[in-house]
């Protein structure tokens, strides 16, 4: 193995990642930990770029560093019981934890080495590249997400919807922010417009370049967060009934496409020939809206105060 400057960069990135993760986890000051975690996310998106995964770099910068960080920072406002220290565990339990860690680390290493060196048989990558022409898009990651493994993405949207329903069921939204000054308010308007435009571009570009529904949805969610921080009353969210439909739009578009294919004597989620590109764009648009509003609602932290309390009573807060 020849050592080049690239490997030096790799080592530097790896050490920085580990250092940031360690200091984010070890300190007792949670605020410091959350800020370090956001820095960790940004660095991780650099690592994705280095490992030639630009789709992931975009998603990580928007979601891992941005939205997760925003959610965690917001959670700092909630009261936290004193006791950020390490739990006093009995020695036997400590030993058991250590053993479990060693076991898990060994399995992790084994799985990794097998995955990298065990090169017997066909790799899925060959199949994916071989069929890229027929997938309707030229970005291989988008092709995998929305064509070859569309079923996984459908289920992922279901996970997202389930999490959102959980958040909605847990109570009312947080107190909104106070309206900021004229300057910040104007800035929020500008940035929101810009975010919506970039999201539209990313959605379109996802077919042939890094981008796609997830990155675009995350940016739209960021726009909702901006509006929220800017003290806007409705955060750009539509009224309750429309919002409920939009939350389910991604899955609905997916399922509908899947079932319509079965009427054309195709398999579930098999796109008719020559129409794959258009169908993928349609599904991605719906998925983008679902992702955006789900993540936006997550930032609100509960069902919007405008929603009528029809079913179970919300928490008395």
């Amino acid at each position: 193995m020849e050592i080049t400057l690239w490997h030096l960069l790799d080592a530097l990135l790896a050490i920085l990642l580990l250092g940031l993760a360690w200091s984010a986890l070890s300190g007792s000051d949670l605020r410091r930990g959350v800020v370090l975690f956001m820095a960790f996310g940004l660095l991780l998106s650099l690592v994705w770029a280095r490992l030639r995964a630009p789709d992931l770099a975009l998603a990580e910068a928007a979601i891992g560093a941005g939205l997760s960080g925003a959610l965690l920072l917001l959670a700092l406002r909630d009261s936290e019981k004193p006791g950020n220290r390490t739990v006093q565990t009995p020695p036997l339990l400590q030993l058991a934890t250590l053993l479990l860690m060693l076991l898990l680390a060994a399995s992790f290493a084994l799985a990794y080495v097998t995955a990298v060196t065990g090169n017997n048989g066909d790799r899925l990558a060959g199949l994916a590249f071989g069929n890229l022409e027929q997938s309707g898009v030229s970005n291989p990651v988008t092709a995998v997400l929305l064509n070859f493994r569309a079923y996984d993405t459908l289920l992922e949207l279901a996970v997202l919807l389930a999490a959102t329903l959980g958040i909605l069921a847990l109570g009312a939204e947080r107190r909104p922010f106070r309206k900021p000054g004229l300057l910040l308010g104007g800035l929020v308007t500008w940035i929101t417009t810009l975010l919506v435009m970039v999201a539209g571009y990313l959605l379109w570009a996802g077919a042939h370049a890094p981008g796609g529904a997830f990155q675009a949805g995350a940016l739209l969610a960021a726009a909702i967060v901006m509006l929220r921080l800017g003290g806007m009353t409705s955060e750009g969210l539509p009224v309750s009934r429309l919002l409920r439909w939009l939350l389910a739009a991604g899955i609905a578009a997916f399922m509908l496409t899947g079932y319509l294919a079965t009427f054309l004597d195709l398999a579930f989620l098999q796109y008719p020939e020559g129409r794959a590109g258009l169908l993928i764009l349609l599904i991605e648009s719906a998925a983008m809206l679902s992702i955006a509003f789900s993540l936006g609602l997550a930032y609100l932290g509960g069902s919007p105060s405008g929603w009528e309390k029809s079913s179970s009573k919300g928490s008395p807060s």
């Binding site: 993760a21 930990g33 700092l76 990794y112 990651v141 992922e156």
Partner: protein, 94 residues
């Protein structure tokens, strides 16, 4: 195995381990949620390192799609966990 894969594979394993350990021993729920996120990032890193084929070669897109899915699932799980934590704290206050 390429050296880059080795470096990031080890880093991923270490991140997974220190994240998991913190998630097990910390008392604060917020610290635990943060730790699980870092642990997950370690798994993502290992997956992307597996997909890496060198500077000139196009990497394997399937682990990339997996990780992209994983990032979105991770943030939705984090959001749900934070909402649950908030509800717990409220319940304690009452």
């Amino acid at each position: 195995m390429i050296l880059t894969q080795l470096i990031f594979g080890i880093t991923g394993g270490l991140l997974f381990a220190i994240g998991l350990r913190s998630a097990l021993v910390r008392e604060s729920l917020l610290a635990r949620i943060l730790a699980v996120n870092i642990s997950g990032a370690g798994v993502f890193l290992a997956l992307v390192a597996i997909a890496y084929r060198g500077l000139e070669e196009t990497p394997d897109p399937i682990p990339h799609a997996l990780v992209l899915t994983g990032i979105v699932v991770a943030v939705s799980a984090t959001a749900l966990a934070l909402a649950l934590r908030r509800r717990l704290e409220e319940a304690d206050d009452e």
